[in-house]
């Protein structure tokens, strides 16, 4: 009951969010000095009033703002986000095309980040204040502090150019054709198509950008796991477990870790959100055809239908991730369900 109610409330918020986000971009789009009409016609056509008019009519730019907004929301409800001024394609189609690439990378890097982050965090907490703890803390802080665009550059220089042990930018090697699009996640599509070598190739291409993108989240998770585990280890029920005669390993595995994971889940959620933000930079460096590059181009060109589309998508994503995190909370922490 509580859970359903909670989920329903989040979904209502989601609707408000979509309206709010689109409204914000709409207001920005109409308060900027630049004119998207002029920005998107060729040098010649700008002098042709007929062309300008037909362009404006096509995008509804000749109507007042609130009318445009209502038109937009009306279409949005029908699943139509309008047409990108820049790519001249429906925004929805663009998003469908670019988003899977981003999601594939994000999922991969979150897996890396969670695995190493938790591993490092646990080691660090167990060996608190030892040399290895200091080293891990150092690494995690560097992970949080390193500029991703720079790290990507360094990784490519080192592993791709100089050592030749990693593949270059892009989702797959240039000489390979992408797999038949089913999910648009290349690794999965390649496996579905039974093309093992293509799947491996796609995985290899995920490695460097995944590491770069995941470094921040990994640092965050390491840090949180460490402090959360330390905190839990100082709680009374750990003393109870010790008094029962459990070994330290049993205490950590059975009693501490489960409790320590709870705040880590939040951080994973935050990290996932951050990934989508950090995408812009990493995708630029690794020529990754994802939503980040799309958003970057859209923003630079004041392609407002696309900007609204991306913003809504990422906002929804944020809410959905938060919802998942909250639901996970309920699974990890039995107290939540009843409060």
């Amino acid at each position: 009951m509580g859970l359903l109610k909670y989920t329903a409330r989040r979904l209502v918020f989601l609707a408000f969010l979509v309206i709010g986000v689109s409204l914000v971009v709409f207001v920005i789009s109409h308060s900027v000095p630049s004119d998207p009409v002029l920005a998107n016609l060729s040098q010649r056509n700008i002098d042709n009033q007929e062309m300008v008019d037909s362009f404006k009519a096509k995008w509804g730019l000749d109507k007042p703002m609130y009318t445009q907004y209502f038109i937009y929301v009306g279409n949005l409800v029908k699943g139509d986000m309008g047409t990108s001024i820049r790519t001249q394609r429906p925004v929805m189609d663009d998003l469908k095309k670019y988003f899977p690439a981003t999601i594939e990378l994000a999922i991969f890097s979150i897996i890396i980040a969670v695995f190493f982050g938790m591993l490092f965090g646990i080691i660090s907490a167990i060996k608190r204040n030892s040399a290895i703890d200091q080293i891990i803390r150092g690494i995690s802080v560097v992970g949080v502090s390193v500029p991703s665009f720079w790290l990507g550059l360094m990784f490519l220089l080192l592993f791709y150019v100089n050592l030749g042990i990693a593949p270059g930018p892009g989702r797959i090697s240039p000489y390979l054709a992408p797999p038949v699009a089913v999910t648009n996640l290349y690794v999965i599509d390649a496996l579905l198509a039974g093309d093992w070598s293509l799947a491996v190739d796609a995985l290899q291409h995920l490695l460097l950008p995944g590491l770069v993108l995941g470094s921040f989240t990994m640092g965050l998770i390491t840090r949180t796991t460490r402090s959360s585990l330390l905190e839990v280890m100082s709680l009374d029920f750990i003393r109870t477990a010790r008094a029962k005669g459990l070994t330290e390993k049993m205490i950590i595995m059975r009693h501490a870790l489960g409790n320590a994971l709870i705040p880590v889940v939040t951080v994973i959620g935050i990290g996932f959100g951050n990934l989508l933000g950090g995408m812009v930079l990493v995708e630029t460096i690794f020529a990754w055809p994802g939503i980040g590059q799309y958003a970057y181009k859209a923003a630079g060109n004041l392609d407002f239908p696309a900007i609204i589309g991306v913003s809504i998508l990422i906002s929804i994503n944020y809410v959905v991730i938060n919802l998942i995190v909250d639901l996970l909370y309920g699974i990890l922490d039995p107290r939540v369900r009843y409060n």
Binding site: A39, I111, G168, P178
Partner: protein, 535 residues
Amino acid sequence: MRKNYGILLALLTVVLLFAAGCGGSKDAGTKPEAADGTKQLIMALDPDYETFDPGLAYEVYALLVLHPVYDTLMQFEDNLDAPIYGIAESHELSKDGLSYTFKLRKGIKFAGGNALTSQDVKWSAERSMNLKGNGAFLADGIKSIETPDSDTVVFNLKGQDASFLTKLTYNAFGVIDSKVAMENEATNAVDANTADKAKLWFDTHSAGSGPYVIESYTPKVEVVLARNKNYWGKAPYYDKVVLKAISDPGTQLMMLEKGDIDIAFNLGPEHVKQIQDKPGIEIKKAQSMTLTFLLMNRDPKIGGPIANPDVQKAIRLVLDYQGMQTIAGEGSITPVAPFQVGFLGTLPPRDPKTAQNIEKAKELMKKAGYEKGFKTTLEVATLAVEGMDLPTLAQKIQNDLLQIGIETEIKTSDIMVALDPYRKGTQALSLWYWGPDYPDPNTQLAFLPGNPVGLRANWTADMNPELAELGKKAAVEVDKATRVKNLEEIQKMMDEDSAFDVLLQHARHYATRDNIQGTDYIDLYKIDLKDVSAK
């Protein structure tokens, strides 16, 4: 439960990493042949195309893709002076210079199997006109199109046009299989700009008669062209051409070095230097038709002190063209006026060593009453022109202008945003680039006072009536000798008085693996893909 998930996750990650790490070390470095023996060309470029609808596409790289897909009546081979026949066999120009009659080659079939007729030529051109896309202006001069028979097509013009044959080389006149197109909701009707729904189809399919067809298009990733089995001409060497979208020149360079790609097309002059001595790589250089110029507004309300013609002349004299050519890279030159070297009638470029005259510039500043200098804004779009970063050049200009006391603040913005004030003519001082709309000097007349680009500097015809008048004459002149004379005169006048200072005509730098050939630069197409082959 939880524990099991953890172990599963760990195992999965380890396996993934292992697979990735091992495979990586084995595969990187060489481009393996496709298993089935198909020959494949891979070119990396920083594309600007957004659509492959021949009626709408107007981007710089659109013709790279569309030229080998859609045949045109006229085309260029290597020399931009004179177009040669494409699918036209011959043509006649009426005495009044207003009517072109073309005979089509016989027996040409579209990739889909339909025969190509004069109807298709007419339909395609009309569709372009009515779609009112960015390239539609090329057809502005056309009054009507007639098709007396299936292999004859007649273009009736509104007025004489010396560059009409050149204009026909554009994709706007690319011949589409009208039957296939109409099946996919295309139309050539007057209301095509709203009624035509074929754009999305054209993005990922093609209906042309060229040597290649569009096999697939993944925006921001790649375009794959496949051999057209019905092609009427000599079959191209490669079965497949893959155009990889890789925006970063450094990345292109890396991939070329690794052998992952055959052509790295967007290299800056500096990248080229890096790989000069690397084995397996061939460096290509060519004169590009792209200009970089400084716009100086003539309207005192906008330009302030900049609007003063003496100040503008002083700026032309104080700039260090030699330094700029260093930045733009080897092969770049500085034309006297906005007419590219390589076009009919263009004067020899400036000698960068002697072009700079700071003393005289200072005198002119004094004469204009700005001996102490002034402050202004230098607007520039953030992009690279032929591998040269425009903001970098802006910093060089900023530095040079300080010598006559002009302090500039650089204002950068994205190209699409910067275009707005540029077109409205509200920029005082700005750095811009220009590529010809079609390979004919007439396209450059836009820079003259009263003409579209001239007006962006608020340089109206009454400010230099003589020059404006000469420009009007040059536009319609068809006699070659008179054209040359007129054009030369215009350039000389613009050297004396102009709202523009042409800084650079760029060189195009790119590189290929040294085992391929036929990759010479043609400004219109960049590279004619059908001509590329292995050595």
